[in-house]
Point group: D2
């Protein structure tokens, strides 16, 4: 049986040890030959630190995998079987701006699907599309497993503009929900059936027990009454019970930015005033992590990584790779092409949903139509995403502006334009496609 080659773009990320750990855990099933950690010049130092830790981890596990650290993306991609992407254009400094500028204007930045996340999409999508072009030449049969945020928009860009079919987007939010809710119920996740449908960071789900009962309401009530299993990077703040009753589905914890916009904004502003942006907090955590990683005696993923906020992202990637490679036919929640799974959304857009994972890729369980309440909201969010992606690809300022006006976190054209312009200017270096806009400044 032939062994596989895995390439990780953004290999210098602090998450890499979780990824390596995930592969090691599955080494009995997953016949890895080589793992290539790729990064760019500015990330070289981190790549070396984390790459060496990766090597020590593999060595300790007694595996013969080759670990390559490289700045040469093309060399890495040649003949790859799986490519994972976890890079951050502009590093955490860019995220800090995505959060700070909206706050300074009295708005939530929301670095995944708010104004901040839209700018992240502007920076990230051109890079992912160039990776996809490389893949078409160098490893046209490889699966692209993306967990760079905004994971849904990035997946859609790859499908629609990159015209690359073998892509799956991943997120740890559904995983966290399934884990914490199983724990609340005192059950194993395998005893339950979770059906997720929506968009990345804007997904709802239902829960059924193994007797066929819809226990969504019961779970929702528990989620509210008991303290939720910790999600490091988001305020614990509860949806109204009356709303949960009406929705008949459990919103994901990122829905708080929308359903509880007023409270989240107030909390966010307070916390911004007291501690700075979340990006700054994360930056400090990361610096500590890299200090730990440098220790030549460290040969495991340090537990401190779990504080970082993205726990289980990388593990989900390993699980997906394993499932595709071994045709495991299990359910996972993925970002993939809609194809009518959710009838209320365009056929060719990306959605986040529960899918049956086969060797030929994810096969979503059909979902159908949302109730009215979810339907209207998801439709405006998807329109916002589509406009954002189109602006990211074309660099058309008018489309970017329309995307901002469409985002429910932006309460009007005047403030929307102001925040957009400030963000574009702050990120100018990473936004060559918006040249026309910059030329006019």
């Amino acid at each position: 049986m032939s062994k596989i080659k895995i390439v990780t773009i953004g290999g210098g990320s602090s998450y890499t040890p979780e990824l390596i750990e995930g592969f090691i855990k599955r080494s009995a099933e997953l016949p890895i030959r080589e793992i290539w950690l790729v990064d760019i010049e500015e990330g070289k130092e981190k790549l070396e630190i984390v790459g060496n830790l990766a090597k020590r981890m593999v060595e300790k596990a007694g595996l013969d995998w080759q670990i390559h650290l490289t700045l040469d993306r093309e060399e890495a991609l040649k003949g790859a079987d799986f490519v994972t992407t976890q890079f951050r254009v502009g590093f955490l400094d860019a995220r800090i701006k995505d959060e700070r500028i909206p706050f300074e204007n009295g708005l939530l930045g929301q670095e995944t699907n708010g104004p901040g996340g839209m700018l992240k999409a502007f920076r990230t999508i051109p890079v992912i599309l160039s990776i996809v072009e490389d893949m078409k030449r160098l490893c046209p049969d490889a699966w692209l497993v993306n967990f760079t945020n905004p994971a849904g928009m990035v997946t859609e860009a790859v499908l629609k503009y990159g015209k690359y079919e073998k892509v799956v987007g991943l997120c740890n939010v559904p995983v966290n929900h399934m884990m914490s809710e199983s724990k609340l119920l005192g059950k194993d996740a395998s005893e339950l059936f979770f059906h997720f449908a929506g968009l990345n960071h804007f997904v709802w789900h239902k829960v059924y027990d193994n007797k066929g009962n819809d226990i969504t309401g019961e779970v929702a009530a528990k989620v509210i009454s008991e303290e939720e299993a910790g999600v490091a990077n988001i305020e614990v703040m509860h949806f109204l019970q009356d709303q949960l009753d009406h929705l008949g589905m459990i919103p994901c914890y990122y829905h708080r930015y929308y359903y509880l916009q007023d409270d989240m904004l107030q909390k966010g502003l307070e916390s911004y005033k007291n501690e700075g942006t979340r990006g700054e907090v994360v930056k400090r955590v990361e610096e500590e992590l890299f200090e730990l990683y440098k220790n030549p005696d460290l040969k495991d993923k340090p537990t401190q990584l779990e504080k970082r906020g993205g726990a289980y992202y990388s593990d989900a990637a390993c699980e997906l790779i394993n499932s595709i490679h071994n045709d495991k036919k299990i359910l996972m929640v993925v970002n993939t092409r809609n194809n009518g799974t959710i009838d209320d959304l365009p056929y060719d857009c990306a959605i986040e949903t529960t899918a049956y994972i086969t060797a030929s890729g994810p096969r979503p369980l059909n979902f159908g139509k949302f109730p009215t309440a979810q339907r209207g909201y998801i439709q405006i969010m998807k329109a916002m995403e589509e406009l954002t992606i189109e602006a990211a690809v074309t660099g058309d300022y008018k489309i970017a502006l329309e995307a901002f006006i469409t985002n429910p976190l932006v309460p009007g054209s005047t403030i929307g334009k102001k925040v957009l312009d400030e963000l574009l200017i702050a990120h100018k270096k990473y936004l060559p496609q918006f040249k026309d806009f910059f030329d006019k400044q």
Copy 2:
């Protein structure tokens, strides 16, 4: 040829003289036998004042029409050919609350499709449904021509819950756009082709000249650069040129509450502080109007009525009645059942669109799919409308709350719930269907 019977519910309205004038203008074509002005006990005095003016107007025009003033709705409806509805549950005092309570909470009330308008829907829909039940018994072949706001939601309620097919909703916004834009271009409206599509007070349009050119962009630029023909009840405030370019359609002037929410809110709060609510202004105007109407020498619609803000509403109703009765086969903009005219919206909802008016009712010109930007926004607005209507019919508090959270003028659950609760309590008298909510207070 048999003559027709017209019934106007809310006959004591200050708009009635425009309606009567509209019928008089069309007397050569439209064979009226009798007009019944119906009102409720609390509106009796106004009914008498305006009813007597109506009689003087008809007499001056030398017409033999019978004008009946009555509080007995059933007697009036018997055998009617057309029923128009222009009533306001709770009179202007209710509107004042619809505007004041949101302002007091830092929100726009928007008395047609904002929080205020949602409460108006809660008060109005049960009444219109009871009228429809009367019509089914007393005049099952009559057309219901509604221009009570929110005209779109009221029309949808009649179609979906009233199961009454012969209903058309009217609004003066499209008429105002067509008149002012023709004037800006120095053309007659008949030289242009306007294609409207959207929801009531949330409609966009395109303009074509009689050479087949799409002149929407040219018109949009003129609307921005020149002072618009006055719309009495709304701030003049311009959409961003970049947004108009991207939309490729002209938003209606009520779109300002959404696209320019930040500016409209600021202006609205200032104006509320200085002059009180728009409802209070209107109330003063109405009082002056009724003083004028009392004058027994007044035998025409006074020009002061035009200041009132709803000009052309009644005229549109007369034109529609004329077109249906005489199979005129002209275009008008109406609220009617979607039936796939706009592909992005539910098949059975009400939309506002350009229709070809035949004796068998309006036949919308097909519209198709909206561009992304319009699509997302109209979809959340329609979901909000559907939830609002359902809450109005069922009195289900949870649905009402969800409708509030869905409305883009409401920035979160906490403030949404607060404003909803205050509004419900303020209007308790007119909201018997929300008994369960009141019982819990």
Copy 3:
């Protein structure tokens, strides 16, 4: 753990031993308390014969299950957990007419979705709806597992007109395809992924290997070049290779009646001339089977049953019951509500498709849109099915006629009307709902 009660309507069927064998095979997992075999007066003798064989089989297996034989449907249904239906209104004599009358008029009868099958639907649907009414009263939480043909139309009738959600329709055609194709490839079915979508007896599928390759074309070629694993009740006759190439999917063997209508008609007429109808052949087979069943020493399903033509139907039912009861989360091909799984068909119709079976019922894998060729054909077949079901429920002759004109096996109104009328008259006894038609004769 509580044990379950299973009720089989049409318990006197020759298939019952397969069903019992299926339960016995799963006895380790499936905790059965009692099985009720129900039949009608005319089927009493067969019920006793086959019921006693069932008892002997269970006894031989050393199981303590209670086997009840009864003509009292209500008593049987009380508190049931699963109800299976395998009855044939009018017994095989009715099928013989369904086949003979069309042949006499030069048409294919096709007793499942041709003119014959439409009459079978007319006879069967009122009975299944009365069963469903009983179930709502007597066992409202039970699952109805139907394998009475036409299984798709019966399922749709239960969902749409019976308003009963817990229903699954089963067919052995997909099972046969999966088994014979796995065998042709020399693989185990578990190494492949089959994706079926369509209607009962009008379903197409794709095949993927465990490396993710689409091997549909390879399988189709093998199906043509090698002799197919025997399907007892259908002519071996091959689709054109050029058509298979274009479809990109494998049609089921019942598609021959449509795609190869000319050849099938010719063969069918020959065989009708030589051997009489298939119904008559089956009747002889059944008589032999019942002779075997009478033998008190027989304590197993006799292998001769496999000649009967419906092999694996009953086994599929057992597997489904097991999967639902034990939340097995495996894939099965079922007839269930569309809900947008196939975008080209009405949302609320029944389809046949690959589904993930949970304790809360089947969750179809999303399919999306068919290519043009499949799309047009399945749409007319579904319209025919919808009209047939509506005629079966209402007894409206005009709808029945339209259904006939719509069926692609009926080449025109004149012949269609003649065949319909003859069939209705021949089955008058079982078609009380068509009273108006009979009154006019």
Copy 4:
């Protein structure tokens, strides 16, 4: 006001005098400068004959229009305002084959949407696409008014593959229905409202009077009971009253080939035996017409042309040109892009429907969803059309075969393949795109 240039491709057609007459009738409104009659070398003689008649007609009418006769298509198209197409690739000899070969195989040829019409599409679509390419270079703002059959498929090919938006397809079938039904009712067409929806030669309609009553049933009954106003080229043969009642719409007279396939086939075969194909009859009529046209004293359209069978086609083209040029805003039945007008069909296909004609083109009245019976049948017909168009453009034999198998006039693959192959070979000269198929013969 600038005068217009009209180009007629296939100018040598026997219909040209009707076209010229149509323009002359509208000369007061329609400011024509020049008319170019274009034909190919083989049609030169006919072009001269009919072209000279055209000149005499214009002269007699006292008009200063320039009439150009040319074989140079490019010169003709330069700067055109309207281009009409009425050519027949392979002349009537090709049609004769389209009819004869199916009859010889026991099938209806149906030269517009049956097997014959499909071959006509294969011959015509490449030519129309080359005309469109010329138009893009030489007269990119011109409207293309097509009445070459199959008019619906040709229109769809221009829209979908030619990517040319300014195209309208016309047919005389709706005109004939409106004229004959008005006559049957003793009314003027303007007193009625006809709503047509469907495909070319597969269109249904409803009729309303000027009181708003749906009088479709009344009209259908009259159509059956009284002799229809003569349609020269189609058998009078009546739909079943029971079917008409159920449809609730009137099928067009070409529907007979499908709904009454059995009778039409029998009649057709008889008539083929006795008189040869309809094409041969038409050919004799045409020869007589051209003899008449040669007469230098003839200065009007001879009444004999009406026997030809296509009456009102050309007049409809003149009316459409007039309506577009003068922004007449009248209703006409046209073939145009669906855009959701009929919800049951693909968004981008061509349909035939009632449209409001403006200077910017036709605006269909929305139709919505068909009842079940129409829905299924129109969907398979549209799939057949789409496959036919795709085969015509690509020359892919497998798609052509699938199109044949899909057509309800073709009762199976074996006969379908035989007829297709014979037709392709018979028309080899005009089917260069099917080179691969011919190479294999």
